[in-house]
Symmetry: C2
Subunit: 166 residues, 2 copies
């Protein structure tokens, strides 16, 4: 069995040399947060719900949505339908070197996702929360902070802070 | 001739009642800035180059790009190819009512476009600039302020301030 396993590993490694892009995509998919949420493929290409900015953390952000989420925010459909995913990309604010008083994205801080699945995530308003720093998921304790804040502040908007910016 | 013209108007009005969406799209297209730049169809659905923020104007922005522009910013292709268009959407910063220290888009301030056409806009670095407030183009004097600022500050990046935020 052990020899068989080793052979499989060697074959997979060889396949990796032949199809590195394929394996990279698979590797990205299997990075799961303690909630089960993974980094959705192609999220950086999603449309914009809105930018935002936080003074206390000195961060600038943009909130994106997959097609189902964008349709929901545009039509103000509440609750969001199963399959809707929101992404938040956060960077440290950095002073533009080329234009005074302007701030642009500096060091990436984290990417976060809210995945709607009313049944799977019934205990947290139907949303699965995922936080990733440098591609790695944050720990369970950190994930425990997402839901209480969304629950107490934005119950009236299906627990979503960001509104569509026209 | 006058009666003929009246008939045409009546027919067009009737068509407008039958195909209001069609006429609306056409109307949006013909709003041109003094530079000839118009509001590109579907720009709100474009992908994000980066968010930004300005302290002096108390604004939050997001810069989007059409497919050609996104490919260029991702691959750092300079100069940008003809057909690339960048869009800047600017809002007043508004304090979030639901989360302290967070700022979100408030009142829309303007939308602006940079359209690359090396031949048509040779006098302004190959870029046509368009600024629109509430859907109406700004005047010629205001448009005259775009190019000098881009020319003097970001010549090394094909006159584009915003870089792709990863």
């Amino acid at each position: 069995m052990r020899r068989f396993a080793s052979t499989v590993v060697v074959l997979l490694a060889a396949a990796g040399m032949l199809f590195p892009a394929l394996l990279a995509a698979t590797a990205a998919d299997i990075v799961a947060a303690p909630t089960g949420v993974t980094i959705p493929k192609g999220y950086r290409n999603w449309q914009v719900v809105a930018p935002s900015q936080r003074d206390d953390k000195d961060e600038i952000r943009v909130i994106l949505g997959n097609n189902m989420a964008m349709k929901a925010v545009r039509t103000k459909q509440l609750p969001f339908p199963d399959g809707a995913i929101l992404a938040k990309l956060a960077w440290k604010r950095a002073k533009s070197a080329e234009f005074d008083k302007t701030f642009v994205p500096g060091e990436p801080q984290r990417i976060e996702f809210m995945v709607k699945d009313a049944k799977k995530y019934a205990a947290t308003g139907g949303w699965g929360f995922g936080r990733f720093v440098n591609g790695a998921p944050a720990d369970e304790k950190e994930h425990g902070t997402c839901w209480p804040c969304h629950e107490s502040n934005v119950k009236g908007n299906d627990f979503v802070f960001t509104r569509y910016a026209r």
